[in-house]
């Protein structure tokens, strides 16, 4: 599992990086989305891989060893929502820039692509 997940994180990162190096705004947005998947998976993996142990405790005294690490999950939960907000902001900024400059190049001017 570790191997599969780390390869998946690596491929998501590589695809995301390739896209954010592209000159067109839409590609950059998609690249950021892929990168955020990779980063979120990485953070969750920092709590190590556990199946069937969601951090939902009973009413009795809880044994931390019996549950997956809740801390990375809390971090990622906020990261998911924030990444939605940044995607939205980026999209709107790029749309506005497209309206103003007439191009969807990331620098607002069409150089060589």
């Amino acid at each position: 599992m570790e191997l599969v997940l780390s390869l998946a994180i690596g491929i998501l990162t590589a695809s995301g990086l390739w896209l954010i190096f592209r000159p067109r705004t839409f590609q950059v947005i998609l690249g950021l989305a892929l990168l955020s998947y990779a980063v979120n998976l990485f953070i969750v993996a920092a709590g190590r891989l556990r199946s069937d142990a969601p951090p939902i405790v009973g009413k009795a005294a809880a044994d931390p060893a019996a549950y997956a690490d809740p801390l990375p999950q809390a971090l990622v939960l906020t990261a998911i929502v924030i990444s939605f907000a940044t995607t939205a902001l980026l999209l709107v900024v790029l749309l506005a820039s497209r309206g103003l400059t007439g191009t969807d190049h990331v620098d607002g001017e069409d150089g060589e692509s």
Binding site: A14, L49, T87
Partner: protein, 973 residues
């Protein structure tokens, strides 16, 4: 009465007064000055009550925890010395406020002036009363800031702006040095507490870092107190209104450096390096200031250089390091404040009544303003050190010290002569000031006809001059006890025997005084008339400090520009490549040096389904990267595939909350991007000249591919190494163990979000709200590109069909489009909302919560908008996302604040079970209220963003109509 908490009141009063004055109407001159005066007097009266205590040698302290984990407390302390200094700040402050009431023109925004002045007073009190070095540095910076605002008060005036900027840069740079010096000092001592630092003198002086700390702290003190070579800002600061000069540049701001030197004198003084640096700087400043003062043609310029020289004198005394010299320094600090403030005020009156401060134009004013003339003469005599005035006493002490300290160095041998010479200069410029202004023939060609100032404007000067006289004649009875308290507080058991008597017999210091008086007067008699023709001070005038300063500033700016030209780029692609490349190199270095190995933990078995899931996920990711340029819709779909794989992995890896939220956010993001697609230009295959790609293109793409692959490989190996190592002990244990007992919730992730780390979540929803408002504002001014203004193909076809059919009008097909889904979604809407509420309510115990619930609710709105159309939805529903956001933020912050009402820290949550009939025990946690706030913000944000983009499509047809009617499209904004 002797409650140390009163100190807090004394410190807070000026800031409160400043805040009130800032909101007074611009004409409220009387109100603002009365308020400021009351504040200063009230502070002085409160402090006066402490005198019996501090004169006994007690140190009052008020402490409250500030950052206890860093050993920082907010500490106020009061001893004899700081008592005297605060009384100086408040007393002269009150007099300056009275004076400023009459000095300031009603045409100026006077309440603003008093707001700044009081805030400055508060900052100065903050320095004096601080019992903690970091806190002191904070107030130190605050004085720099308010002095900037005060000097630049007449901001329409170029020289005021320049002077303010110069003062800020010089004192601000010194402030940074001071802070670093304090940090070093704190490291040496192990505490930032002033009393602890003072007590640790021997340790500090023996420490290796002593010299560095000393130099840094001295840089701070010297820039503030205008010591050579940082003296040049003070004359330029004279562009400030005269009350500011009287206050900041005689009694307070410039004395802050002196204050610090005296405060830390027991800890830092007494070493060879202290002696060398401080004495040399002081001596140079004393001579240079006095010499330059002689040649000034501007009255305030003369006073400014005289101030520099007197500050140099005090610094010199402190540098000598003997206890008696320290006594003289403290005494002269007070004396200088009284006579110099009164002289500044007198200059202000001359300026006010005649319209000029130019010594070459002024003459014979004594017959027009006899009272001002008399007062100025007495004060100037005190400045010159004439017997029976306070200046004489401290100058006498200074001369005696100059003779006493003989350790054999060149400075010591020259000191008596140089001290006499500087005193003679001081007599020289004092005589010039008085003689040229008040004596001689009546002035001609003045802007105004001179007359004496109003009664109340003279009162502060009278009080100060009376103080000069009283202290000069009866020192032991007037200043004696206060000085004794201050001296004992600083010197402790090293307090020397000193005598405040006027007559010590005919001794050498007296002879030196007499020589200085006679020499200075004779020099004026001989050279005085020729001085009016001098343009700049000889010898020293060549040191063009100001031009050097400007040149250094310009050089720094130019260097920054050059650096930006060489290394900077405005191109995002280059920047990103640099960032990623640097991250790769830095990330690889540790592995190159220390080697890479997977961890010891045995891996968990590979589940074939999981492997298959990620084979698909990775293909989707690579496919999206490949197709994003020409086939956007395909790429979006493929991204969705990768997102789904992520989502399933979260559930697989025991993170149901994440899986749920990711899935919901995925939907919203997809719709968002689909909405955005319409406004992007169509991408056509590149057509290169001569039908071939330039060589650069495959090279660049190849480079990007290598960089991306390396980045991916790096992250993968890092992730693998991390996952195969055992998990170290983290704070997660605490969260799991306490989620139910303390937070009252079974879902640990949710309890962390809304309870343990509620403050972070509050910050996060604020970010969301800001993003939503930014998107909203940006889109209000949005202009779509011209080619994307046309109706979509589908709508064009529908309209064409309507036009072709006889029994239809245009828009009929559109109106009936998606009729069945419309009904279904209308029925579904309440169901979706209920599900959202369910997710919200159960979030504390089961996967769900405010974030997931909020996104779900916004998906409900989204569906409605999609199938019904924007106009139809808004005709029925009142969609007010901005209001939801603000209500949500209020709810979340209010829940946090409510904890204060019960005496708990911000955002402390409370939980218990309530028995509801029929339903049973229901958990009620205040965290739920907080989560409702989160829910409202998330709904508001998501809906606001989506409908802001959605609204664009109903705006553009209207904009086009406006164009058809030959009207500018801007009218639609």
């Amino acid at each position: 009465m002797h409650d140390p908490r009163l100190l807090l009141v004394v410190l807070a009063l000026p800031f409160a007064g400043s805040a009130i004055a800032a909101f007074l109407p611009a004409r409220g001159r009387n109100w603002a000055s009365a308020l400021a005066g009351t504040v200063a007097l009230a502070g002085a009266i409160l402090l006066a009550g402490f005198f019996p205590l501090v004169s006994d040698g007690q140190v009052l302290r008020h402490e409250s925890p500030w950052l206890p984990s860093l050993g920082l407390d907010f500490t106020l302390r009061l001893d004899g010395f700081t008592w005297l200094f605060s009384m100086l700040v408040l007393g002269i402050g009150a007099l300056v406020i009275l004076y400023a009431r009459y000095y300031m023109s009603p045409k100026d925004p006077v309440p603003r002036f008093f707001a700044f002045l009081q805030a400055f007073m508060g900052a100065m009190l903050g320095i004096v009363l601080s019992g903690n070095l970091i806190q002191l540095a904070f107030f130190w910076e605050l004085t720099s800031l308010f002095s900037f605002l005060l000097i630049g008060y007449w901001h329409h005036n170029q020289s005021a702006r320049d002077g303010a900027r110069m003062a800020l840069i010089v004192t601000g740079a010194g402030g940074v040095c001071l802070l670093v010096g304090f940090l070093l000092l704190g490291r040496i001592v192990g505490s930032y507490d002033v009393d602890a630092v003072i007590a640790a003198g021997p340790i500090i002086r023996a420490h290796d870092a002593y010299l560095a700390a000393l130099i840094l702290i001295l840089l701070g003190a010297f820039t503030k107190s205008a010591q050579f070579p940082f003296h040049f800002w003070l004359p330029h600061a004279m562009a400030a209104p005269t009350p500011v000069s009287a206050y900041l540049h005689s009694a307070t701001m410039v004395k802050a450096g002196i204050f610090l030197l005296i405060l830390l004198w027991p800890a830092l003084a007494g070493t060879q390096s202290w002696y060398l640096i401080v004495t040399t700087a002081g001596l140079a400043t004393l001579l240079l200031g006095a010499w330059s003062a002689i040649f000034q043609q501007d009255l305030k310029g003369l006073l400014a250089y005289s101030t520099i020289s007197h500050l140099g004198l005090i610094t010199l005394l402190l540098g000598l390091g003997s206890p008696l010299a320290a006594v003289a320094a403290i005494f002269h600090t007070i004396n200088h404040a009284t006579f110099k403030a009164s002289l500044f005020m007198a200059t202000g009156i001359i300026d006010h009544e005649t319209g000029t401060r130019d010594l070459r134009q002024l003459s014979g004013l004594a017959r027009f303003m006899p009272i001002t003339a008399t007062l100025a003469m007495v004060a100037a005599a005190a400045m010159a050190g004439v017997p029976l005035l306070n200046g004489f006493l401290s100058k006498e002490m200074f001369l005696a010290e100059a003779l006493e300290s003989q350790s054999g160095t060149v400075i010591d041998m020259l000191l008596p002569f140089l001290a006499t010479l500087a005193s003679a200069f001081s007599v020289f410029y004092s005589v010039r000031f008085i003689h040229q202004t008040f004596f001689g023939p009546a002035p001609t060609g003045l802007p105004h006809q001179p007359k004496d100032a109003p009664r109340w404007m003279l009162l502060p000067i009278e009080i100060l001059v009376l103080a000069c006289l009283l202290v000069g004649v009866l020192p032991a009875l007037t200043i004696g006890p206060f000085l004794a308290g201050a001296v004992e507080a600083v010197l402790g058991d090293r307090t020397p025997h000193y005598s405040l008597a006027i007559w010590h017999g005919f001794n050498i210091p007296l002879l030196m005084s007499l020589i200085a008086l006679a020499g200075g007067a004779a020099a004026y008699w001989k050279f005085g008339p020729r001085l009016n023709a001098v343009e700049r001070s000889p010898i020293i005038g060549r040191l063009k400090a100001r031009r050097t300063f400007e040149a250094v500033l310009a050089a720094i700016v130019e260097a920054a520009r050059a650096l930006h030209r060489w290394l900077g780029t405005g191109r995002l692609q280059v920047q990103l490549r640099l960032v990623i490349g640097t991250a790769l190199v830095v990330g690889a270095l540790p592995f190159l040096f220390l080697g890479y190995s997977p961890g010891p933990e045995p891996g968990t078995l590979i589940d074939p389904v999981f492997a298959l899931l990620w084979i698909i996920g990775c293909l989707c990711a690579v496919g999206a990267a490949w197709q994003a340029k020409f086939h956007r819709l395909v790429a979006l779909t493929l991204i969705g595939g990768a997102g789904l794989a992520t989502c399933i992995s979260f559930v697989w890896l025991s993170a149901p909350d994440l899986g749920l939220t990711q899935l919901l956010v995925e939907i919203v993001t997809l719709v968002l991007l689909l909405l955005g697609l319409r406004w992007l230009p169509q991408r056509k295959p590149e057509i290169w000249p001569e039908a071939r790609k330039p060589l650069m293109v495959p090279l660049r793409r190849g480079g990007d591919l290598i960089l991306a692959t390396l980045g991916g490989a790096g992250v993968a190996t890092l992730a693998y190494a991390m996952m195969t190592r055992p998990l170290p002990e983290t704070i997660s244990r605490y969260f799991v163990e306490n989620a139910y007992p303390e937070g009252g919730g079974a879902n640990v992730v949710n309890v962390i979000l809304v309870d343990f780390r509620g403050f972070d979540t509050l910050g996060e929803i604020s970010v969301l709200a800001i993003v939503a408002l930014t998107v909203f504002t940006l889109l209000r001014r949005f202009r779509p590109a011209p080619e994307s203004m046309e109706l979509p193909h589908q709508q064009q076809r529908q309209n064409a069909f309507d036009q072709a059919s006889e029994d239809r009008t245009e828009g009929d097909t559109l109106a009936h489009y998606l009729f069945v889904p419309r009904i279904i979604v209308q029925w579904l809407f309440p169901v979706v909302l209920t599900f959202a509420l369910y997710l919200l309510m159960r979030g504390h115990d089961l996967p769900g919560g405010g974030f997931a619930g909020g996104v779900t609710a916004s998906i409900g709105f989204l569906l409605l908008y999609m199938v019904l159309g924007t106009r139809a939805v808004e005709a029925v529903l009142d969609v007010q996302p901005v209001r939801w956001i603000s209500l949500g933020l209020l709810c979340a912050a209010g829940t946090g604040l409510a904890a204060w009402a019960f005496g708990y820290p911000f955002l402390t949550s409370y939980s218990r079970y309530v028995d509801v009939p029929l339903i049973g025990a229901v958990p009620i946690a205040s965290a739920l209220l907080f989560d409702i706030g989160v829910f409202a913000v998330v709904v508001g944000t998501t809906v606001l963003i989506l409908i802001a983009i959605g609204h664009q499509s109903i705006r553009s047809p209207r904009a086009r109509k406006a164009q058809d009617a030959k009207q500018p499209a801007e009218g639609e904004a």
